[in-house]
């Protein structure tokens, strides 16, 4: 199958007073039509910056320094003006982090839908409203009640569902969701994940989901990319990531995720803390925290294929077992 989104050697840098911060460092990945791909990483791993770069929307002082992003064969980074506007939201929509707060507080919900449609050249109000109603029902909201409401009259979970419906208004082919459930209650979170899965099937949508939470990944993702310090450490299908991880950082993340089930004694934090991205250590960025590290790790391992669809950036992947060695 041909990927819908293809990213190659993408580099995003922020020029700060203290030096140059490489937030996204030679990231390559493919997203296939109809799948839910999760990018998992901690704060500072570069996943949000990556999402902005995919929309060619990196905020200054950030800059895309090199690399390619192509969507359905189109070179995204070369798009300008109207073509870029059409790409954003019509082709690829984004649900930002803390999306409950992106709604305009003095606009009723219905006007958010109408405004967006008008802005993108849809003038048939009746059609737009009919579709908006259908979308709201899809996210289990009652259009009659929600349309006339102002954002503050809705709960956080309801606002989040409004934003998801809004992102689908222009029938995009792909939606990028940045931490879509993080601020929500557990019950609402589970519900929204089920809704996303349903919508994906009904609309044949492709989703790129950014999260720090391995439990969310386990619940919803088909494939997973693990990011650390701006780099992709491992890419594989979700079962391989959880049951046959080959990067020590992936293993560490699994062990560091608390769970309601299973043996507590196998849970442990990853020692040390993430590197300073302005002065990163040479070679593998995980080396200072890694139990497998050797002199070789001062050379950049690069992302390489180890099995069909399974990519790892580690010199020692063959030795890596599911049981993290203590360093």
């Amino acid at each position: 199958m041909k990927p819908l989104l293809r990213v190659r050697d993408l580099v995003v840098e922020f020029h700060l007073d203290r030096g140059t911060l490489r937030a996204v460092n030679r990231v390559s990945l493919d997203v296939y039509p109809g799948e839910i791909m999760a990018i998992v990483g901690e704060s500072g791993s570069g996943k949000s910056t990556l999402a902005f770069a995919l929309l060619n929307l990196v905020p200054p002082p950030g800059r895309i320094v090199e690399g390619q992003v192509s969507f359905n064969g189109t070179d995204v980074l070369a798009l300008r003006g109207d073509a870029l506007r059409q790409y954003r939201w019509r082709e690829v929509a984004m649900v930002f982090q803390a999306a409950q707060n992106v709604l305009n507080p003095v606009m009723r919900v219905v006007d958010h839908f109408l405004d967006t449609a008008r802005d993108h050249g849809l003038t048939n109000e009746g059609e737009v409203l009919a579709w908006a109603e259908e979308l709201l029902r899809m996210v289990r909201l009652e259009p009659a009640r929600v349309f006339s409401a102002y954002p503050h009259e809705l709960s956080g979970g309801m606002r989040q569902r409004v934003v998801i419906a809004l992102s689908l208004l222009l029938k995009p082919r792909m939606v990028i969701l940045d931490e879509p459930t993080t601020a929500l209650d557990v019950v609402t979170q589970a519900y929204i994940m089920d809704i996303l899965n349903e919508i994906r099937r009904e609309m044949n949508l492709t989703m790129l989901l950014l999260t720090h939470d391995m439990s969310v990944v386990a619940k919803i993702a088909d494939r997973v990319g693990v990011m650390y310090a701006g780099q992709v450490m491992e890419i594989a299908d979700v079962d391989s990531i959880f049951y046959r991880p080959r990067h020590p950082y992936t293993v560490g993340l699994i062990h560091a995720a608390p769970s309601l089930l299973g043996d507590l004694d196998r849970k442990q934090p990853i020692p040390g803390s993430p590197p300073d991205l302005i002065n990163p250590p040479p070679g593998c960025p995980f080396r200072p925290r890694c139990g497998y590290a050797s002199a070789r790790c001062e050379e950049d391992p690069g992302l390489h294929v180890i099995a069909d669809g399974h990519w790892v950036a580690c010199h020692h992947w063959e030795q890596v077992t599911h049981h993290a060695p203590v360093s």
Binding site: E42, S43, G44, R140, S155, G156, G157, M158, D185, V186, V187, T188, Q189, A190, Y191, M193, D194, H212, D213, M214, S215, V216, V217, A218, K219, V238, D239, F242, G252, L253, I254, A256, A257, P258, S259, L260, L261, G262, L264, K267, Q268, P269, I270, P271, S273, P274
Partner: protein
């Protein structure tokens, strides 16, 4: 069982909001009784808006209850005078969620951590204070202490900052620390290390913890053999030994909550089905439902549930549930 350090007796906290002619009352905490004993670890769990943070503030004396009493070693804290007030404040400390906001940004670690020693006249000279602070930092795993003592908060990582905040709470050898979401802003790879540190403080120094969180999985990791109290809209709906309560939850709310918690295991996650609720969204806290506050969302609710408030009743040794239908609710086991 040992003496309770703190016991809350029928505590309620009501906030008023809005202007004079349109006053609204928010019942943040309603009739909660809870005790924390010496050396004990208790989790206080609930979703946002359930009143768990307000209850934590009541325990440390930052919020006065509207009704009910707070007892410190059996004595009403409102009647404490002189030295006894100091003793209570020193012995019951709090750690907040946001370590960045908790530390003064223009003070070094030394300045922040030495303040309580001077305040309680435990040291006289600067050299003595530095030694005490260094000792404290080493105890918190910030080694060597020399690398951290003269740093400003912004020069530390989130995990290191939270260790400094814990150090400040520990400085005066408290008996109880109320930890309000201490790891929710810490990087996921480091969360367990902060919880491990808290556990070692409990084991080595006998400090009791009231761990306030929305996250049942971290509560399980931290509390182990301790107790858990689950809150919903201001009330405790289920309480008991954590292992028993999480394995055989009896309250329909807790069953629904547990069935919705995602697990980091894809095969299990695919088979987990959240229990259906009659309504997804929380009711308005200014107009809480009558009777059992969960009844409009509860799939099992009967007439009595809307009419009468269910009391906490004991269903097994130390396991209490506030549900009229506790004998009728189908068994649900976490697996």
């Amino acid at each position: 069982m040992s003496t309770p350090i703190i016991s809350l007796e029928n505590v309620s906290v009501t906030f008023q909001r809005g202007v004079l002619w349109r006053r609204q009352r928010v019942h943040a905490v309603v009739n909660v009784s809870l005790a924390v004993h010496e050396g004990e670890v208790v989790a206080l769990v609930g979703e946002s808006g359930c009143g768990k943070t307000t209850l934590g503030r009541v325990v440390v004396g930052l919020q006065a209850p509207t009704r009910g009493r707070v007892l410190y070693y059996g004595q009403d804290v409102r009647t404490l005078r002189g030295e006894a007030v100091y003793e209570y404040r020193r012995s019951v400390q709090i750690v907040h969620q946001d370590s960045y906001a908790a530390l003064n940004p223009v003070r070094t670690v030394y300045q922040s951590l030495s303040a309580p020693f001077f305040r309680y006249r435990l040291v006289r000279r600067r050299a003595e204070a530095r030694e005490k602070v260094a000792e404290l930092l080493e105890m918190m795993g910030l080694t060597p202490a020399g690398d951290f003592i003269d740093k400003y908060p912004h020069q530390l990582s989130g995990g290191q900052r939270q260790r400094v905040v814990l150090a400040r709470a520990v400085a005066l050898r408290p008996r109880l620390i109320v930890a309000d979401e201490p790891v929710s802003m810490v990087d996921v790879s480091l969360r367990l290390s902060i919880l491990d540190l808290m556990r070692s403080l409990n084991e080595r120094m006998g400090i009791a913890f009231l761990y306030i969180t929305h996250d049942l999985a971290t509560a399980r990791y931290f509390v182990r053999t301790g107790r858990i109290a689950v809150m919903y809209l201001g009330q405790v709906v289920e309480m008991g030994n954590l292992q028993e309560v999480l394995t055989w939850p009896r309250h329909p709310y807790l069953q629904a909550l547990l069935s919705a918690v995602p697990v980091p295991d894809p095969r299990r996650a695919r088979h987990m089905k959240p229990l259906p609720l009659r309504s997804l969204d929380l009711p308005d806290p200014t107009h809480p439902p009558s009777g059992c506050r969960f009844h409009p969302r509860c799939p099992y609710a009967e007439a009595i549930c809307g009419a009468e408030e269910p009391p906490l009743q004991t269903v097994a040794d130390g396991h209490q549930v506030a549900c009229h239908l506790v004998d009728k609710v189908p068994e649900w086991v976490l697996s």
